[in-house]
């Protein structure tokens, strides 16, 4: 069953045509890697899926994006609810200057949940799912800014999954992290995919092969190839794909 379906998506910032005729289907509980050289639209595409591009006044688009059966740019769509269902983890960890607990609880509180016991339980669950509970259990009320980069990113992941989204969008979540933190987060992604549908933008092709089932190769705003990761890297259909993955450009 497809969690996300994208049909003929074209996006522009003013007259700048960024994404061209994007078609994609994302099955549920899978990890899809988006690869391609810098500036080819991967992040723009990701941000179209949770309507973060709405924040930029010059943004406009044609085409349709379905989350299950709902077209997310439809007339009566509640963007706030959409972003609850489609969460995002950013390239550089961006915890709020608040305590670790308040960071993870943030999504719950702004959506009106007041039961502190429920919140505490959900915070603990989320930090455990994000594989960082053991490291922060004794200092939940310390500022999140006192953690290392890798820890902060895992807290941000916990913050996102505390909302119990259906989809998690990850925009190069490990690019600012050391190798050990990267491994921890990749393990995390492998476990999370049992419950969530994940799209991950990555420049690291080895990472794509380690974590994803499907890979889409973006070039100049178009998807050149959409395939099973195992197929795309071993037996690419398109010539440009082969050139990119063998490092002839990028």
């Amino acid at each position: 069953m497809n969690r996300i379906t994208v049909k003929n998506l074209n996006t522009k910032f003013g007259d700048n045509h960024i994404l061209k005729n994007i078609n994609m289907q994302v099955p549920e509980n899978t990890v899809t890697a988006l690869i391609g050289p810098s500036g080819c639209g991967k992040s723009t595409f990701l941000r179209t899926l949770n309507r973060m591009n709405d924040l930029i006044p010059s943004f406009n688009h044609t085409g349709e994006i379905y989350l299950d059966d709902t077209e997310i740019y439809g007339k009566n769509i509640d963007v706030v609810n959409l972003r609850k269902r489609v969460g995002m983890v950013f390239q550089k960890a961006n915890p709020f200057p608040k305590s670790i607990f308040d960071n993870v609880a943030y999504g719950l509180r702004i959506h009106g949940i007041e039961d502190e016991d429920f919140i505490a339980q959900r915070v603990e669950e989320s930090l455990k799912s994000a594989a960082i509970w053991d490291e922060v259990e004794s200092k939940l009320y310390d500022s999140a800014m006192s953690l290392s980069g890798g820890q902060q990113q895992r807290v941000c992941i916990a913050r996102t999954i505390a909302n119990k989204p259906e989809v998690i969008l990850m925009d190069e979540p490990c690019s600012a992290l050391d190798p050990i933190s990267t491994i921890k987060i990749e393990d995390l992604i492998n476990r999370l995919k049992k419950e969530y549908t994940i799209l991950i933008v990555t420049h690291n092709m080895q990472q794509a092969t380690r974590v994803s089932k499907y890979t889409s190769f973006f070039l100049n705003g178009e998807i050149i190839e959409n395939n099973l990761t195992s197929e795309l890297f071993i037996n690419p259909r398109e010539e440009k794909t082969e050139e990119y993955i063998t490092g002839r450009f990028g």
Partner: protein
């Protein structure tokens, strides 16, 4: 033919010494003023001076009603200027784009902060005391100080709010918060050190004003109870004692009290802001 008067190494040393000297002179001026006031004024200051009421128009006795007046008008100024200034700053940073209105507001704030205090005082008399019929009162005085304080609160808050990293806003919106929730739960809490600094800066000026309040607040020697009572804040009392030749000793005593209040306010701000930042940003 060109020649250097001194080598670049020695001109470096000379400039270094000039800068150090500037720092010392600046500090020195501050210490001389503070020192002189405190040396002449502190002997007058004792518990009776602080807690007593003026006797004989202030020739003897204490300055309690003046301290209370100062606190009163400053509080009113703070209560009015803070939401106005912070609100305008939030509008400018979060909602307005770059437009003619925005530039107009900014220009207006800058101009307002350059208007001489005595002009504010005259305006206060004409508008609050006479036109609005609030009379010579703590309220009128507080209102004048409030409009003087708004530009400072606005400008400092604007900087503080604009410096909040955009990544926080993105994270909040990405979790499904509305723009207002983001402002209230993330942006403003993160800008509080800056906002508080702005408010205290403005209040330090407010508590030091004589010219602005003298035509609005009255000149009463008694303790103001309601905001419609007249009062006499410390700087005004100092001015009256000195110019009417009532008591130079008590004038210096009043000045010493004022200076100490300002020093306390400054240190308290720094301490509070540091502690808040440590709490929010983690200890380093």
């Amino acid at each position: 033919m060109s020649f250097k008067i001194c080598s670049s190494k020695s001109s470096d040393k000379i400039m270094n010494k000039i800068f150090i000297l500037s720092g010392i002179v600046t500090l020195g001026i501050l210490l001389i003023i503070l020192g002189y006031i405190l040396v002449k004024g502190l002997p007058v200051v004792n518990l009776e001076f602080l807690l007593g009421s003026p006797i004989d128009s202030g020739k003897s006795g204490g300055i309690l009603p003046m301290i209370i007046s100062s606190v009163y008008v400053t509080l009113i100024a703070a209560v009015i200027a803070t939401p106005l200034g912070v609100g305008a700053a939030v509008y400018m940073v979060e909602y307005a784009g770059e437009s003619k209105i925005v530039n107009l507001i900014r220009f207006g704030a800058e101009t307002l902060s350059s208007i001489p205090s005595i002009v504010f005082g005259l305006f206060g008399l004409a508008f609050f005391v006479v036109f609005l019929n609030l009379g010579w009162s703590i309220l009128s005085g507080g209102l004048v100080l409030a409009i003087m304080a708004v530009p400072t609160v606005f400008q400092v808050s604007e900087v503080a709010i604009a410096s909040v990293p955009n990544t926080y806003r993105q994270a909040s919106l990405g979790l499904g918060a509305t723009k207002w929730q983001t402002i209230a739960n993330v942006v403003i809490p993160a800008s509080i050190p800056g906002i508080v600094t702005g408010v205290i800066l403005a209040m330090t000026r407010a508590i030091s004003e004589a010219a602005a309040v003298m035509y609005a607040v009255g000149s009463a020697l008694s303790v103001p109870i309601s905001i419609f009572d007249p009062g006499r804040p410390l700087p005004l009392h100092l001015y009256i004692l000195a110019t009417e030749g009532i008591s130079m000793d008590n004038a210096f005593g009043t000045a010493a009290v004022l200076v100490i209040i300002v020093l306390i306010l400054t240190f308290a701000t720094n301490y509070l802001v540091n502690r808040y930042q440590e709490k929010m940003m983690g200890k380093f």
